[in-house]
Amino acid sequence: MDQSKRVLLISRDLMIQRALAEALTLRGCQTFEATERIESLRLMYETHPDLIFLEIDEPDDDWEFFARIRAITDTPAILAVNRNEPARARWSKRNTAILIKPISVARVIDKARAWGIVRRNAKSRVDPTWSTRRLRVVDLIRIDRALSQVGECGEVRLIVEHGQVRFLEKIATLPISNVTLSSAKHLAHQVGDSSLRSE
């Protein structure tokens, strides 16, 4: 029988879901991700999680949703809330940890460890294979860095071989308006374009 602890991650932010799912999976947990409330409730009934993570994004709706969760289950929960959130004091109880946003993955892991959900340490280095099935947060950070390096115009090419991203190419493009006439003529001379040379 699978002894791994189950964690339900509820957040509208894809990056929060992914970062926590990756960190918890590396530490032997099984994670389930939900964005919508109906989906969250369905997963809660189906998976009986050992820990619930809920990001309070829209205070009125999300606190009401958490009250519904608490009416169903007493499962330990970690809530990520905005600073100066008045409703948070109401839920500061034994099995509810409240973290002020922005949160770090390490703080969530620490809380989960305190409840015995996380037992072992993660591998210190990330798996070097870059699968195309699901992009990890580290892969997305790499892509974002490459996109910002190409500037205003350009391309980032993900080259896939055998179902894995093997290379990442960055191509910066210079808008034609930035090319001066003299540099265009020089270029035309080099490539043998007579239409520009004759001007």
Partner: protein, 72 residues
């Protein structure tokens, strides 16, 4: 190779990307899925943001065809 983000105390959530938006991620993943085992996904940057996605699908050439073409 960078260490996993969960081991980096400097990383806080939500992660602030410079160019990438959350809605871009499923589109990039769909493109990677669509090209299959071999190919390229080109992320076209326009005005500092991901503007469009181009997909190139590659088909492996059977070895027999390669041998034939080299022998000519």
């Amino acid at each position: 190779m960078p260490a996993h983000i969960s081991n980096d105390p400097a990383v806080v959530l939500p992660i602030q990307f410079q160019c990438l938006r959350a809605r871009d991620v499923p589109m990039i993943e769909a493109a990677l899925k669509q090209i299959g085992a071999c190919g390229q996904v080109h992320l076209i940057v326009e005005q500092g943001r991901l503007g469009s996605i181009r997909m190139l699908q590659s088909e492996p050439v059977p070895r027999a065809v390669l041998r034939e073409s080299f022998s000519k």
